[in-house]
């Protein structure tokens, strides 16, 4: 289905907001105001395209740490993200227990994930099993990087979904690098989708910089899943335009010319140019978006800076479901 103009603008806005927040987080780290940031710069088109192809709030999401734009598309606010960066009270993902960008958002069916990679693949298949057992119409999307597909967890989780034809979309955001290790040292196959045949599910490769290509692929996979036809593996080729995290320095393993060339594959100007060319976005409108993004980011940073830390005593809870204390 063609995407409506208003929706395209909303998608662009979400990408833009994610980019500005992400950039601001790098600055906060360099200023010594936060302990850690892990970046999604370069992945925004894939994440936003995928989310706008789902029934947000109805479908389930098992994401990974690079998915800031995905979470914003699902309703995470800049203020909430900033609370997470600073470990402040009211952070909705973990109550400031987890490192930044370790997502969870119950109100949007986003399940909590950890730092060990690919564990969420099995959770997604379990959610898919639950959906199938209850006869519900939801689908579940889980995301991860190409390096994470080396984990046994990934193979086992995908295998389950394929055997039981579960309504799961496995979205691999392939940026070629797992911290410093290139894809050639992760797998002998050329593409992650080449693994799909061995696991018995369709594999679809898309250009992850082309937001509408991602949108169409996820929409088709969701339709398939809702019809009971089973899971799909989608590989989106994206670029990691920054080091792995605030603690990484990619100069030791990534040639500068390669990093420079990535600018040609930056999804944000590519999508902006498309919208301008199609006369969906005017220069004036873009300027307004840029101004609003800056305001929202600064508001979020101010809000989180002024917010209190959690009371230390709350670190003792909740170990068990019985001692969940809200407030």
């Amino acid at each position: 289905m063609p995407v409506k103009k208003e929706t395209l603008l909303e998608m662009y806005w979400t990408m833009l907001l994610s980019r500005r927040l992400d950039e601001r987080a790098w600055v906060l780290h360099r200023q010594g105001k936060i302990a850690f940031h892990i970046s999604g710069i370069g992945h925004e088109a894939t994440q936003v395209g995928a989310m706008f192809a789902l029934h947000r709030g109805v479908d389930w999401i098992a994401p990974y740490y690079r998915d800031l734009a995905m979470l914003l598309a699902l309703g995470l606010t800049p203020r909430e993200f900033a609370l997470g960066l600073m470990g402040k009270k009211g952070e909705p993902m973990s109550g400031a227990r987890q490192m930044p960008s370790h997502w969870s958002l119950r109100r949007a069916n986003v399940v909590s994930h950890s730092s060990p990679v690919a564990t969420q693949t099995c959770h997604a298949s379990g959610i898919g099993l639950g959906i199938k057992m209850r006869g519900d119409s939801a689908v579940v999307l889980t995301s991860l990087g190409e390096g994470s597909t080396s984990q046994g967890e990934w193979y086992e989780g995908v295998n389950w979904a394929a055997i039981h034809r579960l309504p799961v979309i496995f979205l691999v955001e392939n940026n070629v690098y797992a911290i410093s290790v290139r894809q050639e040292k992760q797998m002998a196959v050329e593409n992650v989708v080449d693994k799909a045949a061995g696991l018995g599910l369709p594999g679809v490769m898309v250009d992850g910089v082309a937001i509408l290509e991602v949108h169409a692929a996820v929409e088709a996979a969701a339709t398939r899943a809702r019809k009971g036809e089973g899971p799909t593996l989608i590989e989106a080729k994206v670029e990691r335009m920054t080091p792995h995290s605030s603690d990484d320095d990619d100069r030791t393993y990534r040639p500068r010319e390669e990093v420079e060339a990535l600018k040609q594959r930056d999804p944000l100007p590519i999508f902006r140019a498309y919208l301008v060319e199609k006369k969906i976005l005017s220069e004036a409108q873009d300027k307004e978006f840029q101004g609003r993004a800056k305001e929202e980011v600064e508001d979020a940073v101010r809000f989180a800076t002024d917010a209190p830390y959690p009371e230390v005593e709350t670190a003792a809870y909740p170990v068990y479901a019985e001692d969940v204390r809200r407030g």
């Binding site: 099995c122 298949s125 086992e156 389950w160």
Partner: protein, 328 residues
């Protein structure tokens, strides 16, 4: 009142909870038409169908991981790991995911799931069908760890575990599956609360603390030494995490002597924590050092019968420990 085996207690609990709550389902290797390699799920496939009694791929980490996902969605999975020895590939999912889910999401997400696994030796199972793994998991806040020692508790504790809103590790003494029999009333709901130990044999001379198969042998040993005038009080731990400190402390304060028995390797076995609790809480009440009867510190249990017997604590070795401590 009918006399049933420990494994029949397990089977009845599964059957009753499957009938009670349609969100409950079983998954594991060979749990379907085969009824489980020990027959704990016998007849359940025929009764509840392939949708609720799932034969899984031969891959333990995904048995746990898929179970976690289903629990997040609101289901009540009961996962069977065929032997506790095979649980190690699932360690990451159990320890990093299930156990930490509630805490790391500040209570937004919980994992109501049971993982059952037969544990322990004495059946000629060698290194990889004999292990005791309870200490690995009892070290992890967020999990509950339960081990029954008799058919009544097997049924009542498992039913409570299935209704519990947390991930519960339920380890079953496989040697006792058919060896340990007991009276279990028919036609009534049996729920044994988690987190409560039980004084299974009152006595005044010394306290003996055990769980699972070792509890069974402790009962036999206590009977043997009672003929010699040694009056043993036996405490069945039942829930290892969270532990019922009160029952343990009260008993040792009364008797002034504590013998802890476990089948696992001696070093950092579960009884080491019990000894630490008693040392902290009962120092002034103790008339003798805290003593242990345990498995040895070798990597695992050998297959050959005499070597297996060398590894395992039994009624005779436990009785010797009781006599020694009583005489102190």
């Amino acid at each position: 009142m009918a006399e049933i085996t420990l494994i029949e207690g397990v089977r009845q609990a599964l059957d009753e909870e499957l009938a009670r709550d349609e969100k409950v389902f079983l998954m594991g290797e060979d749990v379907g038409p085969r009824g489980g390699v020990f027959r704990a799920t016998l007849g359940l496939f025929e009764k509840y169908g392939a949708e609720r009694i799932l034969d899984t791929p031969l891959a333990e980490l995904s048995i746990a991981g898929v179970g976690i996902g289903a629990a997040l969605y609101g289901m009540r999975p009961i996962c069977e790991i065929q032997f506790a020895d095979f649980i190690h590939p699932a360690f990451n999912q159990i320890v990093n995911e299930a156990a930490k889910m509630c805490y790391r999401s500040n209570g937004e997400w919980t994992v109501p799931m049971v993982i059952r696994a037969p544990y322990g030796g004495g059946i000629g199972g060698g290194l990889y069908h004999s292990q005791s793994v309870e200490s690995f998991f009892a070290h992890v806040p967020g999990l509950k760890v339960v081990i029954p020692s008799n058919p009544y508790d097997a049924k009542g504790l498992l039913k409570s575990a299935i209704r519990d809103p947390n991930p519960v590790m339920f380890f079953e003494p496989k040697k006792g599956y058919r060896l340990i029999k007991g009276e279990v009333p028919e036609g009534e709901e049996i729920l044994v609360p988690l987190g409560v130990a039980k004084v299974s044999r009152p006595g005044k001379d010394l306290t003996v603390i055990a769980y699972g198969m070792m509890h069974h042998y402790c009962l036999q040993a206590a009977e043997a030494v009672s003929a010699e005038g040694i009056d043993v009080e036996l405490v069945d731990v039942r829930t290892l995490l969270p532990i019922d400190r009160t029952t343990l402390i009260q008993s040792v304060r009364k008797t002034g002597k504590a013998l802890i028995v476990y089948e696992d390797n001696r070093t950092l076995g579960y009884g080491a924590e019990i000894a630490a609790i008693l040392a902290e809480e009962c120092f002034a009440d103790l008339d003798a050092p805290i003593r242990r009867v345990t498995g040895p510190d070798v990597p695992a249990m050998p297959y050959s019968h005499p070597m297996q017997d060398w590894f395992l604590p039994d009624a005779e070795k436990i009785a010797a420990g009781m006599r020694e401590l009583a005489a102190y």
